[in-house]
Structure formats: C-alpha cells, structure tokens
Amino acid sequence: MEKYILLIISAVLVNNFVLTRFLGICPFLGVSKKLPTALGMCAAIVFVMTCASAVVWLISRFLLEPAGVFHTDLTYLQTIVFILVIAAFVQFVEMIIRKFSPGLYKALGIYLPLITTNCAVLGVAVLNVQKGYNLLAATLFGFGAAAGFSLALIIFTGLREKIDRSNPPQAFRGTAIALLTAGQLSLAFMGFAALIKM
C-alpha cells in the first residue's frame, strides 16, 4: 500500500513529468492562458493517461510480450500500437467535449487532438513497460503522472496571468518569457529531488 502511495507522490512531485522530465511541454504552454481551459485540459489528460496506461499495459502484457497469447516477441510494435490506442482515446474525449462543452472545445483548439502525440502520454505508457510495473502500479503511475502534469499546468496557469501582465522587452514576449518561467519553476521543483528514492 505504502509503495503505491509513494509511487503517486513520486510521479507528482519528484519526477514531475513537465518540470523534471520535460515531457508534455506543448499543452503546458498552449493551454495555460486561462484557468477554466487549463482545468478542462487537466481532466482530459487525466482521463486519457489513466485509461491509456491500463489498456496499453494489457495489450503489452497479453499481446506483445513473448508470454502473451502469440508466444512471440512483438515488442517492436510497442510504439505504433500504443499510439493507436492513445489516438482512439483522444478521439473519444474529443467527441465528448465537443458534444457537451463546445466552449471548452473551441478554447482547447488544436491542443486537444494533439494529446495524441503528447509525449507525456506515450512516455507514461513506455515507462510502465520499461519499469515492469503490474497493472495496478501502471494505472496508478499513469494517474500520478497525469496529476503531476495537472499540478504543473494549474500552477503555471496562475503564473501565466501574472506574466501576461508583465512588461518584458519585445524579444522576450510570449512564449520566450513563459519558457523562462517554466525553467524557474523547475528550479524550484529541484527542491524535491531525492525526496523519495525509487
């Protein structure tokens, strides 16, 4: 039990996907302008990452690995199959959001379908396989990573409001100053380094 809790804490704080692994920077910068939009993105990411982690683990375990039903090593198919599954989930989320929250759909724009190619989602799936987690651990790790992403995104959205009202030199306006801020935020998160040895 303790192991799983530590796993989540580690994924949220110590090995935060955005701030220490630098994965998923695209939506991190893209949808951090308004809090409601960012929250919508967080919900979408949590759903996709958690579900994809579980499904991908099952596929990997029972179809691709030598111990699976085919009795052959098909792990070279990993990337393509994972993306296929993730894409299907993203499509599904997109449909739901478009149907029930057109405003959010419009606000998220291109960043919603882009979750498909979001390296954070694929990253969590690949890491799950690499680290040899069991199904529960993989799902929790997916959830923890998504929660860490959400935490970073929400903090950053708050900061973004302040930055948007700041007055940088012309060359640093927009994404440049946002990236600088993200860098400083990861400096701050260095404080969690070696908090949990995993």
Partner: protein, 271 residues
C-alpha cells in the same frame, strides 16, 4: 516464417478494428453538425476582426450573414469589393457603398492650443477626460493621449510630438473603432473622396475659441459664402456637409483662422 507477418497484422488489425468500432458507436451518440458555408464565407472576409460590422469578428459576421440574413455592406475594411463577393456568394443583389475614412476634427496641438492645467495621471484620453474634462482649455479639443491610436487595428493613427492625433487616410480602413474610442467625440468618418475639411468641433463662442486656440473656428461665416451649400453654420461653428459637393478651394484661403484645410483621401483601393 509466415507467422512473423501474420501475428503483427492480426494485432494491428485487431486493435485498430476494435478502436474503430468503439469510436464508430460513440460517434453515433456524439455527433455535432456544422455548417460548412460559414467557414467558406469567413475566408472571403478580410480577417481583420475589427468589429466594424457590429459583431465580434469576421466569423461571427459570416454566421450572421448566413443564419440571420445580415446586411451585405457592413464590412468596412473590405469595402465595395468584399461586399460584391459576399453578394455573389449569397446570391443577392449588391448594394452601393462608398468607402469612408476617419478624420480628427481638431487641429489644436501644443503649439496652437493652450492647456488649463498640468494633467498628471493615466496616459489615456478616456481617463484624462474624467479629470476636469481634460487638460485642453478648449472643451472640444483632442487630448492627444492616443486612445484612438491604441485601438486602431491598422496603426493608421499617429500622435504627433505636439500631442495631436492625426489619421493617415492611406492606412485607414474606416472601421470606426476610433470614433467610438474618442471621449471628446471629435473623430468622424468622412467619404474618402473628400478633401476639404473644417478641423474644429468647438461650439464655444468666437471670443472663447480665440482665447483657447489659435486655429479654432470662430464662426465668422466667411467660408459659408465661399463654399455655397457645402459648409453650414451650426451655431458658432462651420460644419462641412459631406452630402453636398465641395470642390471650391476658396473657403480654405478665406478662413482667417486657418481652420479649414485640404487633405487628400486614399488614392487607390487595395485589392
């Protein structure tokens, strides 16, 4: 050996098929219809999103045209050309419209108009107008703090060093944003073919105007005689009636205050 091909094929196919089926089922319940005509019409509009049509942006105007039958001549930046394109797209009769440009009806800058106090506050006309009506002694003068220039989508308005807003007609698209932004209400849309203008809006009596500004209209009525119908008196102020033709440049030379000027409109209409 052939299994090497078959297994991955089965997997990819199987996974893909099941995802496809699931999404297909989901799509049955979650479809949203859109009107492709709106997007096509949006593409015809200039995309300045200036709001001159009274709607928040070009795509909203396109929607209003298709869904609610809005008028086809509302897009001022696009001018007659866009109006014709819209009319063709919608299959309706084109209407006549003349392109208009904005004009600041004040010539009183720091060299010619006096100030009644030193304004200390936000560098914005609307804010300055809340402090004693602005720092120009003339209550109808341009405050020169650039509210119009900041809102202009094409940066056609220049604030001179002597604090006066001047609109460059060759850049102006006639969207009318500055007209709304000016707290003194001294910006007006005029037909772009017109060249002779009275640059004053002061309703004050002549002696008051003279005290406040060296180039304000003092209501001497000399210009009205020279210009016929095209310049009329409104109280102590000469006003150009843009519905009447005015070619006679005598009015400019007659004006003792040099309030009347000749300014060219935009020459060519951009495509």
């Amino acid at each position: 050996m052939p299994f090497d091909i078959i297994d991955p094929t089965i997997i990819m196919g199987g996974v893909g098929l099941s995802c496809g089926i699931l999404l297909g089922v989901a799509a049955r319940f979650l479809t949203v219809t859109v009107n492709p005509r709106i997007e096509a019409l949006t593409a015809l509009l200039p995309g300045v999103n200036c709001g001159a049509c009274g709607l928040p942006g070009c795509s909203e105007y396109a929607r209003a045209l298709i869904m609610h039958g809005a008028k086809v001549n509302l897009c001022k930046p696009g001018g007659p050309k866009t109006m014709r394109q819209i009319a063709v797209f919608l299959g309706v009769e084109p209407v006549t419209m003349e392109r208009q440009v904005a004009l600041v009806l004040c010539g009183g800058d720091d060299k010619t108009a006096i100030r009644k106090f030193c304004y200390n506050g936000i560098a914005d006309c609307a804010a300055a107008a809340l402090v004693g009506g602005g720092d120009k002694a003339c209550g109808y003068g341009c405050l020169g703090l650039g509210s119009c220039a900041r809102i202009c989508p094409t940066e056609a308005i220049e604030i001179t060093h002597a604090r006066l807003a001047v609109i460059h007609p060759e850049l102006c698209i006639g969207c009318g944003q500055c007209v709304k932004a000016c707290p003194k209400k001294i910006i007006q849309l005029v037909p772009e073919s017109r060249t002779i203008h009275v640059l004053c809006r002061s309703k004050d009596r002549g002696n008051v105007v003279k005290k406040n500004c060296s180039i304000g209209c003092i209501g001497c009525t000399l210009c009205t005689k020279a210009a016929g119908n095209a310049i009329k008196m409104e109280g102590a102020l000469a006003v150009v009636d843009y519905t009447q033709p005015l070619e006679n440049e005598e009015a400019i030379t007659k004006c003792p205050q040099h309030t009347i000027i000749k300014r060219s409109g935009r020459k060519e209409v951009p495509a």
